[in-house]
Amino acid sequence: MKGAEKGGVKLLLAPAIIFVLLLFLYPFAYGLFLSLTTEDGGFTLSNYAKFFGNARDFRTIWVTLQISVPVTFINVALAIPFAYYMRRGLKGERILTFFLIVPITLGTVLVSEGMLTFMGPNGWLNQLLLFLHIVKEPFRFTHNYLGVVLSLALQGFPYAFLMLLGYVSGINPDLEKASQMLGANRWQTFWRVLFPLMVPGIAIAFSLNFVMAFSVFPSAVLLGEPSGPTRVISIAAYQQAFEKFNFNAASAISMIMAAIELIVISLILMWRSRMYKGASIVGKG
């Protein structure tokens, strides 16, 4: 009876496994295959060699890291105090959460369009800054590095925040009381108890935010300077695929993207295991 139940439970996993196989593993394997072949189907490493040999393409790694790493740090660093202050719930928490989720639901393109208008040379933001005499002429928020960073922060912060909020509010509140009773002030309690317990959540939030920022495309095109300073690696891949119709070279660039993301995630997970040795997240026996 029990065995049959177990078998039944395993069967329930089947749709999810098929879904992952079809929509993730198959395209990934096919992409890897494409990247290692010529257009006629023969094995080659030239697709990779071409990317690393072309200075304009090779640069995009550095350009993308310059955007994605600071954005990820900003998002996570901002999310930590927000999550900390909201861990026991606040008045108006729902409204705040609503405003944080809106940018996610609207989608990148709509948010970027909105930012172009709002932050553009004639937008409300510059009008206000001019009116208050903070700037003498319109400040360039868009069509540059700053524009991409701002848009990624707007999109990525809610993810980081919601993820960390789940983590912090799951920490047994008695741990904070215990720390306080042992003589720790708020600051010491945060750094010695809450932060170490948040590390796994911070690592996940950082990883996901980094992957999202590293694969940036629409914001880099709409809010940046896609021909130069914000020509990110996904633009290079796009141009290979849909301007030069070289899917093999485009696949190679995608594989390089994946490799860089995996390296960064491994670094984060190494940091996590150094920081967090305990076996369980909750303080209950």
Binding site: N172, K177, Q180, M181, L182, G183, N185, G283, G285
Partner: protein
């Protein structure tokens, strides 16, 4: 550790919105005393404890340590500066720190030298019989072991006051008794002033120098375990301490024989006599006499173990056994007497369900309470 003579809580009150969780709570703790807050869940005992620590700010009242005011509702010394130690029901060990690091947590905050920290951690772990556990993590230990770490983590700092909030409630019955013995031995040894919160009367009786019975945020009675056990101040305390036979009664005559009240009354279908050791100024005596004068109904309070099967010298009650629970050395019998009242008693000899019985109770084992005593303290939320 700063030395002191008494900790004095004066008129401490805590309100949450329009609910009063702790009401006009006043008590003095002598140095080295073991005091237990006892009461059912929601009686305010944990809130009172948290108010003393400062973790829950008080609404009004004062807390003094000798002539130092640590809390007067406006000016509160924060919990981390009170030098109190607290043990939680769910242990609250830091899961990311080893046992040794947990115990060292407070010592490191006090910026002690490394060698001193190591020595004191070792001593504290030996005290709770956890030598060799220093490098384990909380998740690898049983509940009883974790609670010992939590105790070590507090006593290593030599707190002025140790507060334990239902520390044994999450443990199974056997461990609970073991750790209870250890707590007692630890207190004998360290003589640290202790406040202990529990809903378990056995724990309270076994551990305490004094017990404070709480109901709806109000103190019902303060006294030694023997006092609380044998001489409850009102019906609520009596009920909580196991006086399970509460029968409606009508007093027929009452006579004052020196300090003793001799009351003849009818209850459970019989005419019974009670000898009540209520002193002259006792509110129980005053309200009982008033109830008799007004012809009002009163209530008995008798322990099941004070009722004996068979014809005793006096106070016979005829009843029919309804439920018999075998409990090893004796049986717990639930019987029905005249007027439909339920009679609970313990019997060493076997009793059949449905059997007609006669039980008796000595007159000095009966307590009588006027109705108003049952209601004292009511009217406030949990």
């Amino acid at each position: 550790m700063k030395d002191f003579k008494t900790i004095s809580v004066r008129h401490m009150t805590k309100r949450f919105g329009d609910k009063t969780a702790v009401s006009d709570f006043s008590l003095e703790f002598g140095k080295g005393e073991f005091v237990t807050f006892l009461g059912p869940s929601g009686c305010g005992k944990s809130t009172a404890l948290n108010c003393v620590t400062g973790l829950i700010p008080i609404t009004s009242g004062e807390i003094w340590i000798d002539d130092e005011c640590i809390d007067n509702a406006d000016h509160q010394i924060p919990p981390e500066k009170r030098e109190f130690g607290m043990v939680f029901q769910n242990y609250a060990l830091f899961p990311h720190l080893s046992v040794a690091e947990n115990v060292a947590f407070g010592l490191k905050l006090r910026k002690l030298k490394k060698a001193e920290v190591a020595k004191r951690v070792d001593d504290a772990l030996r005290l709770v019989h956890l030598e060799g556990y220093a490098h384990k993590f909380p998740a690898q230990m049983s509940g009883g072991e974790q609670q010992r770490v939590a105790i070590a983590r507090c006593v290593v700092l030599e707190p002025r006051l140790l507060l334990l909030d239902e520390p044994l409630s999450n443990l199974d019955a056997k461990l609970r008794i073991e750790l209870r013995y250890e707590l007692k031995a630890l207190h004998e040894r360290l003589k640290v002033t202790t406040i202990y919160v529990t809903h378990d009367q056995t724990e309270a009786l076994a551990l305490s120098d004094r017990i404070v019975v709480l109901r709806s945020g109000k103190i019902q009675q303060v006294g030694s375990p023997t006092k609380i056990y044998s001489d409850p101040a009102n019906m609520f305390v009596a009920d909580f301490m196991g006086f399970r036979n509460r029968w409606p009664a009508k007093i027929e005559s009452i006579e004052e024989k020196g300090p003793t009240l001799v009351a003849k009354f009818s209850a459970a279908g019989s005419t019974l006599e009670a000898h009540l050791a209520y002193p002259a100024d006792d509110p129980r005596r005053v309200s009982l006499l008033a109830a008799h004068k007004a012809g009002a109904a009163v209530t008995t309070a008798i322990r099941p173990e004070d009722l004996a099967l068979g014809d005793g010298a006096s106070n016979h009650i005829r009843c029919t056994a309804e439920i018999v629970e075998y409990q090893g050395n004796a049986s717990q019998v639930g019987a029905v007497a005249g007027a439909g009242v339920r009679v609970d008693f313990r019997s060493g000899t076997s009793v059949a369900e449905g059997e007609a019985l006669s039980v008796s109770v000595p007159p000095d084992k009966i307590l009588l309470f006027a109705a108003e005593d049952q209601d004292s303290g009511a009217g406030v939320g949990p």
